[in-house]
């Protein structure tokens, strides 16, 4: 208590005697002590915060030396050592709240959302984003370490870290730049580079169980990933399809049928609806819808790919579509119980934006008629289900207007006639 209330320069001195990985370990232990009172009762004073910040900067991340001047950044090996220390610390921790507080202290995001100069106004040039090996390039040191930590946590099954990250993401917003960056690193590590852990062939992989083990993180990640790949807002020039295994994993996570523990344990969706997912759910739906509609348009299935994999991909999208519709249907069941919370499940405004993007894509790719029809079919079905289940809340007039501008599709035509 004394340490926490009156910051002692002794602590610095003690810690300075230690070498790097050891000092970080000790510093974390001290941090826990310092955060203890903050976690439960009072809001911290700025002085306390500064003190904690100094310790973190100097001893955990080694960003400044004892005079407060900036130090050279850690080399990759040292970073790895730091990761090991952090993993160990969080794995050993017991009090969730304390851990969360420490986590937030450690990874308070810098004020500028993206520290390194970045060419495109939206944060990153889309073409760069998905080039392997570039995910961490534009991140600040600390965000990079966080991203690595998450990746390491998945590899080492460190649930504490994942849970803290879920909270962290939700606090910052799943669609915030930081969350998106984090998700990019995660996707790169586990879906693009496709290390053996996440291969499709191993059904019991840890990743597949992630929604059950760390539901918070999983849902945040889902939302961010849908946003990353479902970009249809028009200003992003080229469409980049999500990696197959990402698609597969998402389908797996959201399909109620494929998981045999549906009856025993709550599916991810139920979990969402029950405690934490509600805030995120509309965003996810929106993103998933984008994810679903876009690939149908430019479908860039290269000729090199065999028909089998093309078929696979198509079937994934169909499954995704089905799960989307299914979850919207379930909404209607829950409607009576939680009327207020789901008030704005899907905003018609989002859908209007989506329709506009779709329209542009159609105009650009007028050759691929079959694909456009498929996409329009899906859109029509989604709108229909959303309308009937009450997921679509708000003034739908503009949406119907927008839908009329799309190329002709029989189903869409019926839906529009019915609801306008």
């Amino acid at each position: 208590m004394a340490i926490a209330c009156s910051p002692q320069p002794d602590l610095h001195r003690i810690l300075r005697r230690l070498d790097f990985p050891q000092s970080a370990k000790e510093a974390l232990a001290c941090l826990e002590q310092l955060c203890l009172p903050l976690a439960h009762t009072r809001p911290p004073t700025s002085k306390q915060l500064d003190y904690i910040g100094e310790i973190i900067d100097e001893f955990v991340f080694c960003e400044i030396d004892h005079k407060g001047a900036r130090r050279k950044r850690l080399n990759p090996l040292q970073e790895l050592q730091l990761l090991e220390v952090l993993l160990g610390y969080f794995a050993a921790g017991e009090d969730k709240v304390i851990l969360n507080t420490v986590f937030m202290m450690l990874f308070t995001p810098p004020h500028t959302p993206s520290p390194s100069p970045s060419p495109s106004p939206s944060g990153f040039a889309r073409a760069d984003v998905f080039t392997p090996g570039t995910a961490t390039v534009t991140l600040s040191d600390r965000m990079r370490i966080l991203a690595r930590l998450v990746s390491a946590a998945v590899a080492s099954h460190n649930l504490a870290v994942l849970n803290c990250t879920g909270v962290w993401m939700q606090q910052l917003g799943c669609l915030s730049q930081h969350s998106l960056n984090l998700s990019r690193v995660f996707i790169e590590d586990y879906f693009v580079l496709n290390t053996p852990q996440s291969t499709i062939s191993s059904p019991t992989s840890y990743l597949e169980q992630l929604p059950q083990l760390a539901p918070h993180f999983a849902s945040c990640f889902l939302t961010a990933a849908a946003e990353l790949y479902g970009g249809i807002d028009g200003n992003r020039s080229t469409y980049i399809p999500p990696p197959m295994c990402l698609l597969y994993t998402i389908v797996n996570w959201t399909m109620p049928y494929t998981t045999d523990f549906k009856s025993t344990t709550p599916t991810p969706k139920r979990k969402h609806s029950n405690d934490i997912g509600l805030l995120l759910w509309p965003d996810y739906l929106n993103g998933a819808l984008k994810l679903l509609l876009i690939p149908a348009i430019p479908v860039k299935l290269e000729k090199a790919k065999e028909t089998k994999s093309a078929w696979n991909e198509n079937s994934y999208y169909s499954q995704l579509h089905s799960s989307l519709l299914e979850s919207m249907q379930e909404r209607s069941v829950l409607q009576s119980q939680q009327q207020l919370l789901q008030a704005e499940v899907i905003s018609p405004r989002h859908l209007v934006a989506l329709v506009r993007g779709l329209q542009e894509s159609c105009a650009k790719n007028n050759s691929n008629n079959e694909k456009i029809q498929l996409s329009l079919d899906r859109l029509a079905q989604s709108v229909q289900v959303a309308q009937s289940s009450g997921c679509l809340y708000g003034n739908t007039h503009e949406l119907m207007q927008a839908l009329r501008t799309l190329p002709y599709n029989r189903l869409l035509d019926i839906v529009v006639r019915r609801y306008s």
Binding site: D19, F20, P21, N75, P76, L77, Q78, E79, L80, Q81, L83, E84, L87, P119, T131, P132, G133, T134, T136, R148, L149, S151, A152, A155, S156, H157, D189, Y190, V192, L193, N194, T195, P196, Q197, Y206, S237, E302, A304
Partner: protein, 906 residues
């Protein structure tokens, strides 16, 4: 649990680094292969450790390279060092295996990461050890460096990983690798060049395409900042320039593709292409050549609209206005060493009058500026080498194409090409102007050509004074159709020159050029078609030099005389006059006259030409009869018959029986059907010939004498008794065979009479022909002596000949009156009386030798000499019988009597 094993691996790995790597001094002591194995596990199972593992691999490889280098340089056999090296190399091999399996397993994901990593590492290693490498030798070449580095297993592994990445990726996915290549090359050039060379050589197409694309990206990001060129772009240029030596075709194709795709739409990606390539081309000469060549290829009616649309963006975004853009392009084009012709072609094509306004104005303006720029360079002070203006130099092999372009109807195109050729001539010396004029001379359409040549000459004559001489020389050496055109053109040029004799703008004279090239003309006379006629015309139209080498005169004569006869056989008056004129001109040269006269005379009586002058052609001997004749039988015939002296057969040979007059007559009738010369034509030919002869003779008073001697030489079968003196009449018995020969010759070649007439008119030339006259008179004497007719006029042919002969001698002033009038009365008297009269004539001639000395200067205004016969008193010896005969026939010739025998003579 897998997660536990991962953590164990992590701990092992960190421990294996023996504490903090930043402080450790003895990490080489650790068994690196074990650590590497752990690291590869981590790489697969613990993505967060990827960077650390790769960092560690860097250290291992660095160590290995260092060891390798020291080992190879020291050449020592330290077993410990050897073992360390072997250990390291084992570790390196493990790393290679691990990374390469990762690439193979998931190229899309791993290849960019690994290739980037290995390229950066290569860059660092190359520049770090560069000084090391240089120790051995002062200057290592690129290949040498390549050898050294490839000998090192660690670097070879890195290179292998990079090439494997490039191999396993799709064409479109290599962007990251190439970007890394470029960035590293920016950072570590020139030490990194060997890597670029090696990889570029392995995948020329990929590397070139991607490098261009990466450069384009960079240009789009930073290109607008004018002034400084980003180092990445420099590196792009460096690499491409390096590859352009061995992989030019790849670069060409890539550039063309880039051009063609750029005009598909208006996105920034595409609008930036042209400014970008312009920028590249300004940085390297090799690229400039390729880019300009391909750029020109990309211009066609389909692409122009879209390039035009883009141009507004170029000028507003990348250049400070339209002028700056055009200026830059002009500068570039002037510098380029290839494809000049294509550029000119395109500009001319789109600048042509019949094009729509829009591309025309741009093209014409551009060409104008290009020419101005080139002109400035050419006319710059100081000595300008051809290589200083590569654009013009590149056009040199295409002069003939440019000349072809001159022949358009478009005056703008013509003017532009003319200017271009002028510039080339000024820059590259007389060879070009010679070539141009030679080529032009060979083109058809004289009117256009003449003005072209003259305007071209105006601009180049100042520097190249010999150009006309040389090019005429060259043009005349060609054969066939071109030669005909050449002659036509030169003819026109010469005519123009003659019109504007004084104060002409064109100083180079074709006349003098032709005079210098007269040697060619004899050959021209024997060409086909119009060439001989044109050559003659040309010769006639120029003023031939005062002195021509006798050999040349001879050559010209030998060729122009046959030409004259050929022309006679054709229709058309003009050519004949020309042919005549050249002969006359040639005769004016010493020794020309003699030669021409001889050739003409020989020609007139040659088998080939004599039908032109009405000569009787020898009847064709029946080829069948002659071929069936057995020589043996003929010999036997001769042997069986006895050849007696004093018999007809032994005295003279009167021909072959069966080939006599009747046959000949028949043959003539037959021939008349096919004979192309009717009397009128023969007349005109003869007149022309006589005219020609007299013209030829006019240059020299002895000409006619020469002619008559020639005639004698040709007609008379031998040289005996060819003197002027008429012998006793009895002597004709000796010469009877020769006389008959002469007579037959004259009968066959009626032209002889005309020739003799000509000679008679040009006194005293006929004197030299007295042998012929004598022979004819002798035959006539014997005819009339034996004639059985009642009246002389019944023997028509002989009477006619007699009359002709007497008149001829009268004209030649060989016979004075009244003998000269004999022809008027002989048709009224009997053959015997004719014989008697002719005997008198013979007697007169015998007593009065017809010598030229009798002729004196002429008092009257007519050419030739004159024999003064006014005081001549005819001896009654020669007229006594005449008087008696006239008296005997006074009834029919009475009215002539006073004129023949004046009263005072009685």
């Amino acid at each position: 649990m897998q997660s536990q094993s991962v953590l164990v691996d992590l701990r092992n790995f960190l421990n294996g680094l023996s504490g903090s790597p930043s402080t450790s001094k003895n990490k080489t002591e650790v068994d690196s292969t074990e650590v590497v194995k752990t690291a590869t596990n981590l790489l697969k199972n613990f993505p967060a450790a990827r960077e650390a593992v790769l960092f560690y691999f860097c250290q291992v490889i660095d160590d290995s390279i260092k060891l390798h280098l020291t080992q190879s340089q020291a050449q020592n056999d330290n077993p410990a060092a050897k073992k360390r090296l072997a250990d390291k190399e084992d570790a390196v091999a493990l790393i290679h295996e691990a990374l390469s399996s990762l690439i193979k397993w998931n190229p899309k994901g791993w290849a960019p990461i690994i290739s980037t990593w290995s390229l950066r590492l290569l860059g660092q290693m190359s520049s770090y050890h560069a000084s090391h490498l240089q120790l051995g030798r002062t200057d290592r070449g690129l290949n040498d460096t390549l050898q050294v580095w490839l000998a090192c297993p660690a670097t070879r592994m890195l290179i292998d990983l990079t090439t494997q990445s490039l191999e396993d990726l799709n064409q479109s996915e290599t962007g990251a690798c190439i970007n890394a290549l470029l960035e590293t090359s920016v950072e570590h050039s020139p030490h990194f060049d060997w890597v670029v060379a090696h990889i570029g050589g392995c995948f020329p197409h990929t590397v070139v395409t991607r490098i261009l694309a990466c450069g384009l990206q960079d240009f789009i990001l930073y290109g607008t900042e004018s002034g400084n060129i980003s180092p990445k772009l420099n590196s792009v240029v460096g690499i491409l320039a390096h590859l352009s030596f061995s992989h030019a075709t790849n670069i060409q194709k890539a550039v063309l593709d880039l051009f063609l795709t750029s005009c598909t739409d208006m996105t920034e990606q595409h609008t930036a292409v042209v400014p970008y390539l312009l920028q590249l081309s300004s940085l390297s000469q090799d690229l400039l050549d390729i880019i300009v060549e391909q750029g020109v290829k990309a211009i066609n009616p389909d692409t122009i609209p879209s390039f035009t649309q883009q141009a507004t963006i170029w000028t507003s975004k990348y250049f400070s206005g339209r002028e700056a853009l055009v200026n830059l392009m002009v500068q570039q084009v002037v510098r380029c060493r290839q494809g000049g012709l294509a550029i000119v072609n395109v500009l001319l094509q789109y600048g042509a009058r019949l094009q729509a306004t829009f591309p025309r104005e741009v093209a014409s303006e551009f060409l104008e500026m290009l020419l101005n720029e080139a002109a400035q360079l050419v006319q710059a002070s100081g000595r300008v080498m051809p290589s200083d203006v590569p654009f013009l130099q590149s056009l040199q092999p295409h002069v003939s194409n440019l000349c072809q372009m001159l022949l358009t109807h478009d005056s703008w195109q013509q003017g532009s090409v003319l200017r271009l050729l002028t510039l080339m001539a000024l820059l590259q010396g007389p060879a070009v102007s010679n070539h141009v004029i030679t080529l032009l001379l060979q083109k058809k359409d004289p009117l256009k050509i003449v003005s072209l040549i003259r305007s071209y000459l105006k601009s180049v004559q100042g520097l190249h004074s010999q150009v006309v001489n040389t090019s005429v020389h060259e043009a005349l050496t060609f054969q066939g159709r071109n030669l005909e055109n050449t002659l036509l053109n030169v003819l026109q040029l010469v005519k123009l020159e003659q019109v504007e004799e004084i104060g002409a703008e064109v100083k180079c004279k074709f006349q003098s050029a032709l005079n210098a090239n007269l040697d060619f003309f004899p050959g021209l006379f024997f060409q086909d078609g119009q060439i001989p006629h044109l050559a003659v015309k040309l010769l006639n139209s120029i003023r031939l030099p005062d002195v021509i080498h006798p050999r040349l005169v001879a050559k010209l004569s030998y060729s122009s005389v046959p030409h004259f006869f050929t022309v006679l056989s054709m229709r058309g008056e003009g050519n004949k006059k020309e042919a005549q004129k050249i002969l006359a001109t040639l005769s004016s040269y010493p020794n020309g006259q003699a030669l021409i006269l001889r050739l003409l005379m020989q020609g007139v009586f040659s088998e080939e030409w004599k039908p032109l002058f009405g000569a009787e052609t020898q009847p064709q001997k029946n080829p069948k009869a002659s071929s069936s004749t057995s020589l043996l039988m003929q010999n036997r015939n001769f042997c069986s018959s006895v050849t007696l002296p004093q018999r007809h057969s032994s005295v003279f040979h009167a021909g072959i029986i069966g080939n006599g007059i009747r046959n000949r007559h028949l043959a003539n009738i037959k021939a008349e059907n096919s004979n192309d010369c009717n009397a009128e034509e023969v007349r005109s030919h003869t007149n022309l010939l006589l005219d020609t002869l007299s013209q030829c003779c006019s240059y020299n008073p002895g000409g006619m004498t020469q002619l008559s001697l020639l005639l004698v030489e040709i007609v008379s079968p031998d040289v005996m008794f060819n003197g002027l003196i008429w012998p006793d009449e009895e002597f004709t018995k000796v010469t009877v065979e020769r006389d008959l020969h002469v007579r037959r010759f004259v009968q066959d070649n009626v032209i002889v009479w005309d020739l003799l007439n000509l000679l008679a008119q040009n006194r005293p030339a006929l004197c030299y022909c007295s042998v012929l006259l004598r022979a004819l008179l002798a035959t006539l004497l014997s005819h009339w002596a034996n004639c059985q007719e009642r009246q002389a006029k019944d023997s028509r042919d002989s009477l006619e000949m007699t009359c002709k002969l007497i008149e001829l001698m009268a004209t030649g002033q060989l016979l004075p009156p009244p003998l000269s009038y004999l022809s008027e009365i002989i048709c009224h008297v009997s053959p015997h009386e004719v014989h008697v009269l002719l005997k008198d004539v013979w007697a007169f001639m015998r007593d009065n030798v017809p010598t030229p000395a009798l002729f004196g200067a002429n008092e009257r205004p007519s050419p030739g000499l004159w024999r003064d016969l006014s005081d001549f008193k005819m001896d009654p010896r020669y007229t006594e019988r005449l008087r008696l005969i006239m008296l005997a026939n006074i009834a029919s010739v009475g009215h002539l009597y006073p004129r023949f025998l004046a009263p005072d003579q009685d």
